[in-house]
Amino acid sequence: MRNCEGIRESIGSWLDGELSAAESESVRAHLVSCTDCGETRRRLEKMQLALKAALISQAPQIEFMSFWRGVERRINQKRAWYDDLLDWSRGLFAAPRVAWMVPAVIGILLVLASTDVWRLGGSRNSFASVESIDAYGRSVALLREQETKTTVIWLYQDQEGENDAAEDTAKSAPTF
C-alpha cells in the first residue's frame, strides 16, 4: 500500500488519466479506503471543473483569427539577408559547435607550429645562428643578409704562401 503523501501527489495525474493501469488501480483502491486522500481528490475535481467552466465560457470571446493571421503573415514574409546571417552566426557559436572548435583550433595551431609551413611563412628563426667562432688569430667577419636570410662567415686568411694571383684575391675581398 502506498503512503498518503505519495498518493496525493499522484491524484492530479490520475484525474488526467496520465498513470499506467497498475498505478491507476493502486491510487483508485487507496482513495476508496482513505478519507483524507478522498477529500483531496474531491477538492482537485472541484478545481478542475471550475477551470473547465471558466475556459468554456470565455473561449468564444477570444479572437483567434487575428492571431492566426499574424502568424501566417510572419511565415510568408520574406526574410532579410541579415536575418539569415544573424541566425547562421547564432548557430555557429552555439555551445556544441564551440566545444568542437576550441580543441580543433588548438590542434591546427599545433600542427602548423610543427611544420615547415609556419617557418617558411615567417621570417624569424630562418637565419643560421653562429654560437662560436675561433679563427686561431685570423680576422673573421659575420654577415647576415636580410633578403635571402643567408649567414656568411668570412675568413680573412693570410695571403702569404699563395701564388702571385693572391694579390687579386686580397683586393677582391667581399665588400659586404
Binding site: 588548438i106 600542427v111 643567408t150 675568413l155 701564388n163 694571383a165 684575391t169 675581398a173
Partner: protein
C-alpha cells in the same frame, strides 16, 4: 545539465587527443637518425664574369659577396650520424670536418672545423634551420677565393 556534462567530457577528450597528437608530432620531430650534410665548394673571383649554371639555385645567396665570377669546384654529400663526424676534402689540401650535435625546434646544430694540412684554420658552432644552409668563405685558392655552402637536412 546533461548537455553541459556532455560538452565538458567531449572537450576533455579532444584536449587529451590534441595533447597526445602534439606529443607524438613533437617526438617524431626530435628523433631524426642522422643528418645529410652537403658541401658545395665554389671558386669566386673577379677575372671574368662567368657564372656557373650549376650554381643557378644559389645565385641570390651569392649576390652579397660581390664577386664577378663563380665556378662550382665540388659538390659532396654525406650522411652523418648524431654526434658523429665526417670530413670533406676541400681544394688546396684543406679538410672540412662536420659534426652534427643536436636537433631541436626544427634546427640542426653543427660543429664545423676547417683545417689546412695539420693546422686548424677555423672552428665554429652553428645552428641552422633544418634543410637550411650557411656560407663559409675566404680561403684563397688559385687566384680566387673559396666559398663553401654548407647545408644540413635531418633524416
Amino acid at each position: 545539465m546533461t548537455l553541459l556534462k556532455t560538452l565538458r567530457n567531449r572537450l576533455r577528450l579532444f584536449s587529451l587527443i590534441v595533447v597526445l597528437v602534439a606529443g607524438w608530432v613533437g617526438a617524431a620531430e626530435k628523433n631524426p637518425q642522422s643528418v645529410q650534410v652537403r658541401i658545395r665548394t665554389i671558386l669566386a673571383g673577379n677575372k671574368s664574369d662567368e657564372f656557373d649554371p650549376k650554381l643557378k639555385d644559389m645565385e641570390q645567396q651569392l649576390k652579397p659577396l660581390k664577386y664577378r665570377s663563380y665556378r662550382s669546384l665540388k659538390d659532396d654529400s654525406q650522411n652523418v650520424p648524431w654526434q658523429g663526424t665526417r670530413s670533406f676534402e676541400i681544394p688546396g689540401g684543406r679538410l672540412l670536418t662536420v659534426a652534427p650535435q643536436e636537433y631541436q625546434n626544427n634546427r640542426v646544430s653543427l660543429k664545423v672545423r676547417l683545417t689546412e694540412g695539420d693546422k686548424p684554420v677555423l672552428d665554429t658552432a652553428v645552428g641552422i634551420q633544418n634543410k637550411g644552409n650557411f656560407i663559409l668563405g675566404g680561403p684563397p685558392h688559385e687566384g680566387g677565393t673559396l666559398v663553401l655552402l654548407i647545408s644540413a637536412a635531418a633524416q
